[in-house]
Symmetry: C2
Subunit: 335 residues, 2 copies
Amino acid sequence: MAEVEVAPVSYEDLALIEEEFAEVDDEIQRKQHELSKPLYAKRAEAVSKIPNFWPLVMEQAPMEIEDYITPLDSAIFAEHLTNLTVTRPELEEGKSGNPKTFSIKFEFSENEYFEDKVLEKTFWHRRAADDWVGLVSEPVKIHWKKGKDSTDGLTNAALALFEARKKVGDFKSHAVPEYKALEKKVEANGGNTSFFTWFGWVSNRRYVTAEESEKANKEYAQRKAARKGGEKPDAPLVEKQEEEDDEEDDSMVEVHAAGEEIAVTISDEMWPNAIKLFVQAQEAEDISDIDMEEFDDEEIDAAEDEPVDIRSLVQSTEKRSRDSSGAPPPKKAKK
Amino acid sequence: MAEVEVAPVSYEDLALIEEEFAEVDDEIQRKQHELSKPLYAKRAEAVSKIPNFWPLVMEQAPMEIEDYITPLDSAIFAEHLTNLTVTRPELEEGKSGNPKTFSIKFEFSENEYFEDKVLEKTFWHRRAADDWVGLVSEPVKIHWKKGKDSTDGLTNAALALFEARKKVGDFKSHAVPEYKALEKKVEANGGNTSFFTWFGWVSNRRYVTAEESEKANKEYAQRKAARKGGEKPDAPLVEKQEEEDDEEDDSMVEVHAAGEEIAVTISDEMWPNAIKLFVQAQEAEDISDIDMEEFDDEEIDAAEDEPVDIRSLVQSTEKRSRDSSGAPPPKKAKK
């Protein structure tokens, strides 16, 4: 790469300004968490009275998630998903924690597939020794019932590798036998995975422990402070990573290609917009129930520009579910 | 539509909870504005020292905007755009103003196309009497030089209609002669518009005055308060709009189909991410400058996973612009 020269102040400024914007973003996320928390509690209480609230929300999952839900997954969610909750564990313990770390908790009713009533996965936002920054997660144990493992042993094998590495104290190890075993399984699987494989996801790169992250963050903060103080150390603020070596790359044993994308879509889109998605699901059901011939074209055109009226939508559906006899269908309303 | 029944509490709750989330969103936006303001000032100062900062950012405009930039527009931006600023005028006056109202200010150097050094357009977030909510904007006068109007008179005609309606005190009027004149122009134009036509955009529906909005907001707040107090008035919280009548629809005289989309993309994407877009533009330039044969495939593959190093990128480009002779090209870095 091109040699590094002493840059004009304004360029150095740009990197520092971006840093400061990132700090403001974190502060805003903390504030949002604080202000929204009681509302999410209120929402949880309200939606607990609505049968199938979360299964209906899951039906409206954005494409990024829908693509990874098989018909069997879909049936499990439809019949057994009783609750979904997103939390920010590092904000619960202390206000100054990392707002980018989050947990997603699925709750299920008794079912024929697995023993677990709760499957919770935490996505830690961490910094590696070489300044890679991103989400990492531990594989979650799913207690499959006999013959019911829809991930074909992938989640178990992911967990086995994680435990083996923990035991030898090296999360980069390719030497433990569980590495080769998982590599083979991943290769054989060919990406045709159940949604539940997502619970085995670890990282887009490799796992980073809390200790490694803490040390790296401390060093990064020191470099940043030096920069702000006007010092210009030899090393750039963000160090150029060395050529990727195999040790830093766990892609051969990653059980889910889109683990991070799915997690972020749930936490940042589905969770805050759950009520809107629920209303959409109601609407979709209403429309599929309607004999479209009842409308002439003019009526449909006129309806296009009308805003969604949450209340009449949910009410009319509620009404239908109590009395599905002869009431006229609600009018299609679309934003 | 289906008749409205007394709904179970939880459904009524959903609409109220969504309202409360919307209030939190507004508060968060105000907080973000407050915390980011000094950073945007700092950024403005820093980037003012970088020639072509904003033209380079415009080059990286998201697709939603790029689609509406003609080659001529592109040349005007490249040669004459000196600054771009997004402000929130209703937050400047008082903290409790509407954070969804914003202004976009383009600054230009002396040029052969128009006299204006500044073109600023404000997007007011307003509520209509029938509870439609959205952005509206007044057409901005552009002082085109003789024969240089790239909008073929559309912006002038949009302004003429706006002024005529203001004069008769009826912003819905279809009776003023300027309505028919603009309708003809829009029809003849066929959507083949210059970016500058955007300065004539009014609304996705029709203009709403500050007075109409204030009154509608007051009434809405009263209904909301009544609901929170447990009252269940006959009217739903969000009133179902009547069938659209022609009076509420100005689409036949709207000069730009994507005015709101462009405005929101500038304020919510380009403005906060300007430094990232600038770095992208540098990178794109670097790559197009590079003789790709210098890399073998392996090197390119290895580079794919490396993070962008803002500092080395801007530095290396800076270096090249001072000495474009024989320095080796910087390595392609991609997030």
